[in-house]
């Protein structure tokens, strides 16, 4: 999967590595701002009130 991604990226090694870093940063950003906040509701052990 990652080998295929590496082959798809254009340019010399340095450019590919830089592109990968940007992609990685974007993925982490989306995870932290969208996916994780959404997933938090399914994490048990957060209830601290009596009801």
């Amino acid at each position: 999967m990652y080998a295929a991604l590496w082959r798809m990226l254009p340019g010399p090694t340095v450019v590919r590595a830089a592109t990968l870093l940007v992609i990685l940063a974007l993925v982490v950003l989306v995870l932290f701002t969208v996916v994780f906040p959404w997933a938090t509701q399914f994490v048990p052990g957060q209830e601290v009130s009596v009801d």
Binding site: M1, V28, L31, F32, F36, A39, T40, Q41, V43, P44, G45, Q46, E47, V48, S49, V50, D51
Partner: protein, 207 residues
């Protein structure tokens, strides 16, 4: 598998650390909002002796909207710099901002039970070390120049369904309250939610 592991690891980092960063940012904003609320609040009526408060208990601030700041909470036992803005509401969106006041319970200093819930892990974990509270410890609430000091009576573990702990008279839903109580609730064990840790305190009257 490697990707899944990395994402799960990141999620743990998010839960334990990033939620705290977000909560701290929210607290900074709430502290500013609370300062403005204090500045614009109608000046409190003089504490009257009419409701069994002969030594003068400061009147409570207006009850804020859900998610809005209510008052400041300090607990010396939890650290000299332990200070949180309490928001109104105990839903998870409110508790992500800081400790939350149970809607329907009385305001600070009033006869009845001022109840607050807070996270013990993640989201800044305000109540992480609530189990260290001992009888006699002080819990201070303040709204501008108004303040209310409570002294801890006891702490104990109970079931999540034990809603009686936030009754005006704990455990007696129909009883008419005469005491001015404060109740803090959080989860127990710290990283679980099987039970609830409860701290009960009584207002120290007079200033």
């Amino acid at each position: 598998m490697l990707t899944l592991g990395a994402v799960l690891l990141l999620f743990v980092v998010y839960l334990l650390w990033w939620t705290g960063v977000e909560t701290n940012a929210a607290q900074s904003r709430l502290a500013g909002d609370l300062g403005r609320a204090v500045a614009t609040a109608p000046s409190p009526p003089k504490a009257t002796g009419g409701d069994a408060s002969p030594r003068g208990v400061d009147p409570p601030p207006p009850v804020p909207a859900t998610g809005a700041p209510y008052l400041d909470l300090t607990i010396p036992r939890l650290g000299t710099d332990w200070h949180w803005v309490v928001v109104q509401g105990v839903g998870l969106p409110q508790l992500a901002l800081g400790p939350g006041h149970y809607p329907g319970t009385v305001g600070p200093g009033e006869v009845g039970n001022f109840a607050v819930a807070g996270h013990r892990s993640g989201h800044g974990e305000p109540f992480a070390h609530l189990d260290q509270m001992k009888a006699g410890d002080l819990v201070r609430l303040s709204f501008g120049s108004r303040s209310w000091t409570y002294r801890v009576d006891k702490n104990f573990i109970t079931d999540p369904s034990d809603v009686g702990v936030i009754d005006p008279v704990p455990g007696q839903p129909a009883a008419t309250p005469t005491r001015r109580l404060l109740t803090l609730t959080t989860c127990d064990p710290r990283w679980g939610n099987a039970r609830r840790l409860i701290v009960v305190a009584t207002l120290v009257e007079g200033r």
